[in-house]
Each structure stands twice: as C-alpha cells, then as structure tokens.
Symmetry: C2
Subunit: 249 residues, 2 copies
C-alpha cells in the first residue's frame, strides 16, 4: 500500500513538473494539460486512446504548421505593405523553414519534455521543429487562435522575424556592428565562453562590450549564433546612431 | 452644382449597393468596407494609396489562402480523429484546390462585384477562386479569426466538405440515390431546365422528385453539377434509410 502511494506521489510529482515546465514555456496556465502531454509524446510510446487512435504529436504538427502559417501571413501582410503576393510567400517560407523551426525548438529545450522509447540522442534535428509545431497546435486546441497568435509573436516574430535581415539587406549584425565601431573609433570585445549548464546540448554565452562597457549578452548553441544574437541586441541599442551611417536601414 | 450633386448621389448609391451586396454574402455588417472594396478591385484599375502602394486584391489572396488553410486544418483535425498527418494534408489540399475555390467563387457570383478595366468575359476561371480567397482575407482584417472561421464554416465546410465523398467512399450521390430508388422500387425524376436569370454565366436548375414528390432542388453552372447537388441534398433527407443498405457510409 505504501509502495503504491509512493509511486502515485512520484507520478504526480512528474506530472506537476511537466505542468510547470509547460507553463514556463507558454507564459500562461494550460487549461487542459492533456493537449500538451500529447504534443510531447513520441509515437514510440505506442499509446492509444479509448477509441484506439494513437496518442502522439504527429497530427498536432499538422495543426501547428497551419496556425504558424496564418499568424505569420497576417504579420507579413501588415508589416510589409509594399510586398506583393510572391514576396509575401517567399518571406513566409523563410520564417517557417525547417531549419528555423528546429532552431526555435532547440532554444526552448523542448526535447527535455519528450516521452519516448527511443534515446533522445538518437533523434535527428527535425524533432525540434516538429515539437515546436506540435506545441503550437496544442496551444490552439487549449486556448484558441488569440493565444496561439500571442505565443507566436512572443517566441517567433519578436525575437526572430526581422524583415531587413530576411530581405538580405542585413546579412550579419556582427559585421554591421564591427564596421560601425571601427568607423566611430570604439573598442569592441566579444567575450565568448562555454555555458552548457544542465542542457543536453552544448551552449555558449557571449558578453559584448563596447568601450569596456557590457552592452548585450546572448546564449546559443554555437559561438557564431551567440555572437550574432548579441550583435543584433547591441544593434537595437545603438540603432539611431548606426542608422545615420546606413541610410538604407 | 446640381450635376455634381447628382453624380455624388449616384456614386453613393453604387457604394450603398456594394455594401448591401457584401452584407448579404457575409451574413453580417462589414465594419470597414474599404477592406472589401480592395478585395474586389482588380489590378487593371491601377489605383494607389497615399503611400503609393497599389490597391487591388492580390495581397488579400495570400492572407485569405492562409486563413482557409488554418480553418480547414482545424476542422479536419477534429472531424477525422483517425487520419494521420499525410491524410490530413491530402484532404486539405482537395478542399482548397483551385478548382474547388473557383466553384465557391462562382456560386457566390463574386465576379458581379469586381471593379476592373478588363471586360469580365475576358477573365479565366481562376478569378473566381482568387476573389473568394481575397474575400476571406478581407473578413480576417475586418473582423478577425472568429468571423473568418464562421464564414468558412457557412460557405465552405457545411455545404461542401463531406469527408466520405473526399475519401472517395462516395463517388457520386446521384448513382447512390438511383441505386437506392431502384432497390426500393421508387420512381425518381430529375427535372432539369436552364435558369440563367441575371447571371453572366449559364446556369441550370433541377427539381428532383421521388414517387412524384419534389424532395430537393439545386442550381449550378452545369446540368451534371446541379443533379449531383440535388442528389446530395436528397441523400441527407433519406440518409437513415439509405445507410441501412450501405453499412460502409
């Protein structure tokens, strides 16, 4: 009896952790945690519902992909009033590219939440993007379009969607920043160090200083990405001054 | 002075007609008629806004296509709990096929509302589907996702989305109905007549009688389509009786 109680307790502790992790990622309380459980269940678990339908995240990917498509479409429509249909389609496919979705899933450490019979190290890169899509699908079922839209703004559009960069006007914020520092005779320093912490994947952190003052910090899965992220953040700090020298921005 | 007043009056009468026509199609009052004006302005009008951006329906098509995609995705996700990702994708592409969208646009007579310098007879079939997509995009901008979803349910999903037919289980409701009538020794009659009315395109109407009683009516752009539509309606009237003989339905 005591044993069963212990098992149940530890089970509900695991479920409690899952709930908290999901809440932290979402920024709000899930109403029906079952949608999110499904979004992180791999087919290898071989679970079925009462009607015999498999419970795993694959169908949620389809739903999440559609929601991402429409939220990004509506953002581009508003933000790019001069872009024609072909341009809007091209921009959207850049934003929801497999590579980009994988990066988003990695940044949110979604793989830590997966239930699977396959060891996590055996998955390819695509699992990150698939989990991200499934998570968006679960948000839609749990809370509807508005919450889904908010989540995509917070996690995709605000941090990553930069129309200037997508258009290829800005290839690298790092080179833009270095160029500006050199021109303005400012001393810059990228202090990069390994910072994997509890993550399963290697991570790097960077502190970017200009004239011996830290102006931005970033963390990512490669040195190059961390530097670019920090540069972009610094760019927005000095945007007005940098733009004076680059009227096309 | 009187002339100008007459012109303005007749102009506002035209605008008033447009408003009423849109309201009839939507089933609700548009908040900002400008979105709908845009959805029915062809590029040949060569109109630009204050910033020099062209005003026509092409960008709205992109938006409407994305909204159709996500509403249909969420419908299929719920309605087809056993369908996997590949199946859901295939079903969606059947529903939002160019051919199907053209049919929807034709049924709503959307071409009657177009402003264009090109004579309406010179457009190909795709203008119907394009206008339908643009209309959905305008609804999204005017009223948001919920109204967009309602409109798509009313005009696309309820009247046209029949998973049994899409899956190919039912190829033709006409043959299904005739088979059933023959088996049950019922007399059926398809009374088809041309019924173009004020439309620019030829239309046909059909009255379907079973045992000398009209059971359904339909109207479409070909005899075959009108008969199929009437058969489908009759099928739903007799569904319980027909299903007894066809346990797979």
């Amino acid at each position: 009896m005591k044993n069963i109680r212990n098992i149940l307790n530890s089970r509900s502790k695991i479920d409690g952790n899952f709930f908290v992790s999901i809440q932290n990622i979402l920024g709000f309380k899930p109403k029906n945690i079952a949608y999110f459980k499904k979004a992180f269940t791999h087919r290898s678990m071989n679970i079925k519902d009462a009607e015999g339908h498999p419970i795993n995240y694959e169908r949620l990917e389809f739903l999440g992909d559609a929601m991402l498509g429409s939220v990004i479409a509506s953002h581009l429509y508003t933000e790019s009033p001069s872009g024609d249909e072909g341009y809007l389609t091209k921009m959207r496919s850049k934003i929801v590219s497999r590579e980009h979705l994988n990066e988003l899933g990695k940044d949110l450490h979604l793989i830590n939440l997966v239930e699977s019979k396959i060891p996590k190290g055996h998955f390819g890169d695509n699992i990150y993007g698939n989990l991200f899509e499934a998570l968006v699908g679960a948000i839609f079922l749990d809370r509807g379009y508005k919450y889904c839209e908010k989540f995509i703004y917070k996690k995709v559009i605000i941090p990553y969607v930069d129309i200037a960069q997508l258009e290829g006007k800005v290839i690298s914020y790092k080179s833009l920043l270095i160029e500006w520092c050199q021109k303005e005779k400012k001393v810059f320093d990228y202090n990069v160090y390994e910072d994997t912490g509890n993550d399963e994947i290697r991570h790097f952190s960077v502190k970017l200083s200009i004239d011996n003052k830290v102006v931005s910090k970033a963390r990512a899965t490669s040195k190059k990405k961390a530097e670019e992220k920090a540069s972009k953040r610094a760019f927005f700090v000095f945007q007005n001054q940098i733009s004076k020298d680059n009227p096309s921005l």
